[in-house]
Each structure stands twice: as structure tokens, then as C-alpha cells.
Amino acid sequence: MPDATGPDQIFQRALADKEIVLPRCDDCGAFHFFPRVLCPHCHGTAISWKPASGKGRVHTTTVVRRKPERGGDYNVCMVELEEGVRMMSRVEGVAPGDVVIDMAVTAFVGEAEGAPVVLFRPAEA
């Protein structure tokens, strides 16, 4: 396999190594998410990758209601990272209904359907 070159490949391969990296524009200095070949803020094309701090806050949240026999309720939320980007994710380690807006959370690399994904847990106080 050649080295990862596309933005999605770079992000996914880092995840496979249990690392969360975020794209940041060399021109304007702003982070963005999802990964892409240009900066959506200034449209610059020089993009570098930075390790994510992993610190974030729940921006908004919902509980997807599902019958217990099909796995039960689960959380879907938007997390705003310290770097200023938001991503969809899930907070684990608390009941789905106990995930609240502004809750401080910490990222970790978990798994969904056999693939590594970014998940969150409540931040240590």
C-alpha cells in the first residue's frame, strides 16, 4: 500500500493507529472538519495535520429511540472541539438521555461496525 495521500485516507489511517488528527489551513490557521483538499474558510490549499487535543463540549444532542430488542436507545450529538471544529459523534459511559448541552467531553478512538471512529466520554472533573 502506498502512503495515504488523500485527506480522508490520512484521517482514517491515523484513526486506525488510534490517533485523532485534524486538518488545519497553513494560510489562515483555522481548523476544519470534515477533511478535504481545501480550506472551507479561506479556500487555501496548503493543509497540515495536527494531533487533536481531544477536549470538547457537547453543542447539541438527541437520543435516538430504539426498541430494546433492537439494541435500545443511543446518543447522537454534535461535539465542538477546542480547535473550533464540530463533529457528529456519541458520548459513551453515561445514559443517552444524560448527555446534555455544554457537557465537557474527551475524545477517544472507539469502534463502529468494525471500523475505528471518534467517540467521546464525559471529561474527568
Binding site: 480522508d8 472538519f33 470534515f34 453543542h59 447539541t60 444532542t61 438527541t62 437520543v63 435516538v64 429511540r65 443511543y74 447522537v76 450529538c77 454534535m78 464540530r86 463533529m87 457528529m88 459523534s89 456519541r90 438521555g97 448541552i101 455544554d102 463502529a112 461496525e113 471500523a115 471512529v117
Partner: protein, 383 residues
């Protein structure tokens, strides 16, 4: 649309088909029946149509499929797919095409059999790669998160959300074409099954079959048709994102921009509008759009809709057919905002006909609060 196009096109026919359950029919069957109904209303036939504006949920080339099915060879087509807002958006492209002489009779049409075919939203679109692993339920999880944020920032309550559904039902109870006409109280909405917190099943639009169509011609031909003409005074669009995770502010939609430009093009303001037809896929939509279109200030939408203020005999008539919440919602609802606005102006609304309506607003929403399109329609008196 700029004010150069103000009043250049006119709706001369509206039609619909397959409301509720269209057993045994395909989505294209319902589309074609809707087209025939609208053309019949205008005193025209399919062979008169040379401009086709259509998208469907199931195909990647729906405008071609529709033209083929209808047995026409249009010289102008627009199949732009911006979700449920597409059919309001076509008012702009149809007006442009008519004004430029690229077509003479424009047919905007849609049809769906989603209720009898599958009982849920049929869609050809793929889940976004950076959202799919978390299994959001589309589209409700997106709207639920917008509602949660609005409640957090502005103190909007579940009771206020429920009152949107109650008002829609109150209008629908007078509309023989509406699918859900039984009584509905605030308590019924709050007590219904929670599907995506804070939204219950009664905060969500219906899943029905149905299709709709409108026929437009250049305004200079407006008086050659059996029904009173309804002019497109202004229409404008703005697109802010596709994926809900890319929405910058979960409490502000691009309707703020589309509305501002549509009002400017029409030369009117929110206070002039006598009937408001909004794409109410979920109860939060109505609150967001009333705020963003300028009917009330940001954050005040909850109080604005409370206690029957948008129901019959309330302060502002909103979704006078019962909306997507109680009248019809076949996958994409946008065309029905245009049809109800036009019929209120013509004076042949199927439910409560308001008195002397000269100005009505139709607002389409597409995707997950992604595409916003506002149109302002007017009677002959508004030209």
C-alpha cells in the same frame, strides 16, 4: 430572483393526486396524475408543455424519467435536486426560462408513493461518510438537535413545539383533502411516543403518498386562462450546508437570507403577508422559519406560535391546509406550499378560505435545514 422578474410569470393551474394512500400506483403514476390535474385546471394539455421542472426521490435522472413517462419532449428542463425546497426553487428557474423565451408553458411536478410502497422515507441519497458511523436517524436526528439547541438558547419549550402541531391539525380539520383530521391536543403531542428527543411522533410530519403540480406561463398571457392568475412577485434561495454536522448555527437557517431577498424582489414586507405556507417537516421548522423570515424576532418563535396564535382565528394564518404535519407529506412537501398559497389567492382553497387574500408566502426547506427557498405570490391587484 431580482425585482426585474417581479410579476413576469403567473401560475395558471394547480393540481394534486394520490393524497393519503395511492394503492397500486407508482411514484411516476402519481406524478402524471398530478400533472394532468394541474393542466386541466389551466385548460391546457400535456402537448402544450415545453418546460419541465421535476425531481423525484427514487432516481438520478428523474426529470428525464418524468418527460418520458408523460410522452413529451420539453425544450427546457430543470431537475435541480435541493430536497423538498426544489419545487419552490423551480419558480425562479421557470420564471427565468419563460421570460427568456426558453419555454412557453412550464410544468412543475412531483409525485410519491412512499406510504404504500415502504411506509418510510424513500431516498436515493447516501448517508454522509462522517456521520454514518453514529447512525443518526435521518432526517429526524438532525431536526431534533436543532430543536434541542433552540430550547437551550432561547428557552423554547416542548409545549410550544406541540402547539405548532396542534395548530396544523386545527387547520386540517377543516380541509377535506387533509390526511389527518382527528382531534389533537397539546397533551396528545407531548404524550406521543418519543422518537428523537425532544421530538415525539406528533412533532413529525406525516408519511403519505401524493403528488402536486403547478403550471406557469408568461404574465402577458395571464388573462387567457379559466382561473384567476397568481403572480410570482419574488423568489430567492440560499443554501448553507448539506450535512447537519456542517450547519454553523443550529438556531438560524438560510431562510433569513432567502426571505430577505424574496421580500426585496417583491417589494413587500412580512407585515404585508396574509397567508404563510411553510415547509413544516417537524414542529421546530415552523418556529425557525417564522423567526428567520422576519415574522418575529430570533428566539421569540416559541411564544409566537403558542396557544393557537397560528391556528384558525389566530394572529397569523400559517399552513392553512394543515401542512406537512397534518395534510400531506409524500417525501418532499415543497410543491404544496406553492399550491396552497396560490389557492388562497385564487379563492379556492380546499379547507378554510381566508377572506380577500392578495399576498401569500410559500417557503420550501430541503435536506436537513440545508436549502431554503422563499417565494412571494400575489393577485392581479399586487402587480
Amino acid at each position: 430572483m431580482t425585482d426585474q422578474l417581479r410579476g413576469k410569470s403567473t401560475i395558471v393551474g394547480t393540481g394534486h393526486a394520490g393524497f393519503g394512500e395511492a394503492h397500486g400506483l407508482t411514484a411516476y403514476d402519481v406524478m402524471a396524475q398530478s400533472a394532468l390535474a394541474a393542466l386541466g385546471d389551466a385548460g391546457l394539455t400535456l402537448s402544450d408543455v415545453d418546460g419541465l421542472f421535476c425531481t423525484m426521490m427514487e432516481d438520478s435522472m428523474p426529470a428525464l424519467m418524468a418527460a418520458e413517462y408523460l410522452g413529451i419532449q420539453p425544450r427546457f428542463i430543470d431537475g435541480t435536486m435541493s430536497g423538498g425546497s426544489s419545487f419552490v426553487n423551480y419558480l425562479t428557474s421557470a420564471t427565468m426560462a419563460l421570460d427568456a423565451g426558453l419555454c412557453d408553458v412550464a410544468l412543475i411536478v412531483y409525485g410519491s408513493n412512499q406510504r404504500t410502497a415502504s411506509g418510510k422515507l424513500v431516498t436515493a441519497s447516501r448517508p454522509p461518510a462522517y456521520e454514518a458511523p453514529y447512525n443518526p436517524r435521518y432526517p429526524i436526528s438532525a431536526y431534533a438537535m436543532a430543536a434541542a439547541r433552540h430550547m437551550h438558547e432561547y428557552g423554547t419549550t416542548r409545549e410550544q413545539l406541540a402547539d405548532v402541531a396542534v395548530a396544523a391539525r386545527a387547520w386540517a380539520q377543516h380541509n377535506p383533502e387533509a390526511f389527518e383530521r382527528g382531534p389533537l391536543t397539546r397533551e396528545d403531542v407531548l404524550g406521543a411516543r418519543m422518537v428523537g428527543d425532544p421530538l415525539t411522533t406528533r412533532d413529525c410530519c406525516l408519511v403519505t403518498d401524493g403528488g402536486g403540480a403547478v403550471v406557469l406561463v408568461r404574465a402577458d398571457r395571464a388573462r387567457d386562462f379559466p382561473k384567476p392568475p397568481v403572480y410570482v412577485l419574488g423568489s430567492a434561495a440560499e443554501s448553507s450546508h448539506r450535512q447537519i454536522s456542517q450547519m454553523k448555527d443550529f438556531t438560524v437557517t438560510a431562510a433569513r437570507a432567502s426571505g430577505k431577498r424574496a421580500f426585496a424582489a417583491a417589494g413587500v414586507s412580512p407585515g404585508d403577508i396574509q397567508a404563510v405556507e411553510l415547509y413544516d417537516a417537524f414542529t421546530i421548522n415552523t418556529i425557525l422559519f417564522l423567526e428567520d423570515l422576519g415574522f418575529c424576532a430570533k428566539g421569540e418563535g416559541g411564544a409566537f406560535v403558542e396557544n393557537g396564535r397560528i391556528a384558525p382565528d389566530g394572529a397569523l394564518p400559517v399552513n392553512t391546509n394543515g401542512g406537512g404535519l397534518s395534510c400531506v407529506h409524500p417525501g418532499m412537501y415543497g410543491i404544496f406550499t406553492v399550491i396552497e398559497a396560490a389557492r388562497q389567492i385564487r379563492g379556492d382553497a380546499p379547507g378554510i378560505q381566508l377572506n380577500d387574500i392578495d399576498l401569500a408566502l410559500a417557503h420550501g426547506n430541503g435536506g436537513v435545514l440545508s436549502s431554503q427557498v422563499t417565494a412571494i405570490l400575489g393577485s392581479q391587484a399586487t402587480l
